[in-house]
Each structure stands twice: as C-alpha cells, then as structure tokens.
Amino acid sequence: MSPRFEPVIGRYMHLDLFGRKHRIYVEEAGEGTPLLCLHTAGADGRQYRALMNDARVTAGHRVIAFDMPWHGKSSPPTGWHNEDYQLTSAQYTGMILEIMTALELDRPILIGCSIGGRIALHMALEHPERFRAIIGLQAGAHVDPYYDLNFLHRPDVHGGEVSAAIVSGLVGPDAPDGDRWETLWHYMQGGPGVFKGDLYFYKLDGDIRGRVAEIDTSRCPLFLLSGEYDYSCTPEETLAVASSIPGSEVTIMKGLGHFPMSENPAEFLQHLLPVLDKIRRMRAV
C-alpha cells in the first residue's frame, strides 16, 4: 500500500506565557474562517484529528488545535520538575488569548470540550468580542469531585493506566473500537499529574455557576452540544446551563459520550456541521 499523508500540518511555536518561555505544538488544516479547538483535560490536540481530515469542515475553515503546555507534544516550561502542575481559569484564559494573538486569528470560532467547554463559557462571559461564535462541547458550569483525585498521581498507581480507566466509561457505547481506544491512549500518554492538574480547573477553580447566566449571546452566539452518555458533564447539566442563557442553542447527542469529536467523529460531525453552517449564515446576514 502506498503511503498516504493527511493534510494536517504541525509546527512548534515559541511563546512567552505568564513570564515563562514555552514551546507549544500547533496543528492546523484547511482554509477559511479560523476554528480554534481546545482539547479535554489530560489529553491533547489529536482529539480533533477527524475535523482536520474532513473536507466538509476544512473547505471553509482553518482548523487549529494546540496542545496546552504540559500536554501532547508541548513541553512543560523549564523548572517543571520541581513543581506541581495546576491549571487555573486565569492561566487558561490568558493562554488562549495569547495564542490567538500569536497566530493572528481574527475572531475565530472557538470550540472546546470538557475543560475546553468550561473555558468556552468563561470566554463567552468575559471576552465575547474576540470570537465570532463559541461552541461548548460537554460544557457544564461545575462538576463535583466524585473520586479521590490523588489516585491520579501517586507512585503506587500507574498514572496513564488509571487516567484512561477513569474516563473509559465516559466514551459512548456506539464509539468505533479504533476511535475509542485512540481516545483512551491519549489519556495513557499524559505526563505525571497533568490530568489531575487540569481537573483543579474543572472541579474547583473554574466553577462558573454563579455567573453563567450573565452570558450575553447577542455579543457572541453560543452553541452547546453534549453527549447522552457523559456522566461527568451530564445532559441535565448542559440543559441547565442552556436554560439559564437566553439565546443559547443546545443539542443532546444520542449515543455519544464525553469525547464526541474523538470517540465517534462520524456521528459527531452530523451534529457539528449544521452548527458550522448556521454560524456561516449568521455572518452572511
């Protein structure tokens, strides 16, 4: 069989964040309206591989995914070996805005899943003018811790194995085997304590329950898509967020779980393509 190359191009970007030097891996494919993609906690930009390989998306969009510092092919900053990684709302927000500026993205569409969906709500609240639309996947305002997070980072439990095992049931029942286990592999590859550090934002620091109703969708359209089988951010939680934000549009995706773009791309695109089309028509008006 002859080799086949994907249209995805990856590059390393050097950028100062929070006064420290970072080497950040950025992938992109396609041309048109920028579509900036945020991965889930403890994973990386490979979760968006299917979007970058789908001509229905890339024909009109420049699809961009970066690996957050400490994740995927992005390095942790020098000095990391003496630190505990912990993601905060302020860092996450600052990182996204700095990377948008560095890549000269003019009002991209933002799409984020899980922690990415949560920060998408923060962005809709605090920086709506920077985006032409925001799409929150598995976006809830808050998640109560439901297991002892210390198990994610201790020497007598394998961090990669336990991270994948924790999230395995969040994949929907209809996910193709290849995509299910690819998604879990990303979790198995995470660095020590990184998933746990992301969950600090997801379960503690990033709680936006008290402010989510202040999101003004007339300043930036907001779409919420959640999988039926997600017990981390449940459909009920997404529906509660949607009902508190006038003008937001919500879709519950049957059979899908917490990683729709990665676990079952074909099904997910059935839900995403109409949203992208709607955003395109909004701009035309």
């Binding site: 439901y146 297991y147 198990f151 007598d156 336990v162 049931g169 994949v171 029942p173 017990y231």
Partner: protein, 126 residues
Amino acid sequence: MIEALKQRVNADEGLVRRGRYLTTTFLLEVGRTAWLIAIFEGRIVSVTSGPFVMPSSSFALRASEEEWAKFWTSRPPPGSNDLMALIKRRVLKAEGDLQIFMANLRYFKEALAKLRPQGTASGAAA
C-alpha cells in the same frame, strides 16, 4: 449468576494477563447478598456467597440489586454503564483499600462487565 464471573474472567486471556500482578480478595454486595471474590495473579480462584460472620477483604463494592441489574444489561442506560458512573451518582459505594481497586481499575471494570449478557463487547462500555 455471580458465580459465572470465575469462568468468564478466566476465559479471557487478555484480561487475566493484564491482571497478572493482581492478587486480592474483594467483597461484592448486591443488595443484601454478599460475595467474596478471590483473585490470584489475575485469575479468579473462588466466588463465595455469604452471609459471612467475619469477611476479610481488601475493599468492598456495594450497590442495590436494582442498580447492579441496570449495570448488568447488554446496553446499560446512561449513568449505569460504568462503575465510575455509579460512583458519581452515589449509588455504588467503594470502601476499603482503594489503592488496589484504582491501580487495577480497568481490570475490575472489565471483570464486572463480564456479568452482562454474553455476546456484548467485553469491556467496551466498561
């Protein structure tokens, strides 16, 4: 029905291999019925039903009959498809030395999913 665990787990070579560093006895409670399940190097060596006077186990998993019945269907509904989903809904209690449970979480999820009607993808949704 719980007794079937021994044959079904031991027949899955991959599962036994992944459990090769696991030797323990855990307590499984289905409503008021208790079972002690002894594992040696990934292989289930005994499944014993209670009641017990002084059961010794490394950890216990406790849920109602109704919750386990939903978990043990071929396509469990959302919220019942995974041990962590039950824990999230506070209907499954995991107690004891949970390091053993968490260090072998994939094993325990896939082993207990073996009690679903056969023919469903083993561990796929576990």
